[in-house]
């Protein structure tokens, strides 16, 4: 187990840096995790991160990438619901990186 320090408060993470307690997440923690992932957050990045948090809230899982792209396409339009768009935002894997920034566990079936 590891911890990260964000503005003087400690948060527990697993050995890969995923936040252990989803409920502790806030935008400052998200911003901190984004820096660790070397992702420069823009409103488009936050849109995906917030989408993932809503998805998790509804279904209690982090979606597989194929499911994420489809669900984003449905909600935010086809120009965003494709892997090219999502990989441009999160080059090291949208499901993995965006989930980490969103404070979600690593997606099931993420190989």
């Amino acid at each position: 187990m590891a911890t990260i320090d964000v503005n003087g408060k400690n948060y527990e993470t697993d050995e890969e840096g995923y936040l252990l307690n989803l409920g502790e997440w806030n935008e400052e923690v998200g911003a901190y995790l984004a820096v660790e992932e070397k992702v420069e957050m823009t409103p488009s990045h936050w849109e995906v991160v917030n989408f993932l948090r809503e998805y998790y809230n509804d279904y209690q899982i982090a979606p597989a990438i194929r499911v994420l792209t489809k669900a984003i396409g449905k909600k935010l339009g086809p120009e965003k619901g494709n892997s090219k768009y999502l990989y441009e935002l999160f080059p090291y894997g949208p499901a993995k990186q965006a989930c980490k920034i969103a404070g979600l566990p690593k997606p099931t079936g993420c190989i």
Binding site: D58, Y59, Q60, I61, P63, A64, R66, V67, K70, A71, T108, G109, I111
Partner: protein
């Protein structure tokens, strides 16, 4: 090139057209109550992972397994995660064949209206027939 592929994919040769093109019928059979043992949650995880392989996947719920799909599960008092909302995500994973045994529902005083996802309620005999048609049956 061929050897590199084999190494990178853990010994499975995805270039072999004959092996990769076949779609098999998988049925995951759920027989246990959602909490108290890890079976229901593990089955669900396997099902979600199986969705990545584009196979013909179905789920059957029998015996106490029907409780996995019951609406309004509250798990706070037993301090475990309520994973029942995840069954509603299955549709997004293109897993839409959910069969529930009629007799098991009836014995527990349940009806289709008590369940949190759309399912097909089938008699024990029809489920048995369906099972016989599968290539792979995995029971939890």
């Amino acid at each position: 090139m061929g050897e590199e592929m084999t190494e990178a994919t853990g010994g499975i040769d995805f270039e072999d057209e004959d092996a990769s093109g076949v779609i098999k019928k998988f049925m995951f059979v759920n027989r246990k109550a959602p909490y108290g043992t890890i079976y229901a949650l593990e089955a669900l995880e396997v099902v979600l992972i199986s969705a990545a392989f584009d196979q013909d996947v179905s789920l059957a719920f029998l015996d106490d397994g029907v409780y996995q799909l019951v609406k309004g599960q509250h798990t706070k008092a037993i301090d475990v995660k309520n994973f029942s909302p995840t069954y509603r995500a299955l549709e997004g994973y293109d897993i839409e064949k959910l069969y529930v045994e009629k007799e098991s529902l009836e014995q527990r005083g349940l009806t289709e209206a008590d369940l949190l996802v759309d399912v097909e309620v089938m008699s024990s005999a029809d489920i048995a027939k369906m099972m016989a048609e599968q290539d792979v049956v995995i029971s939890f």
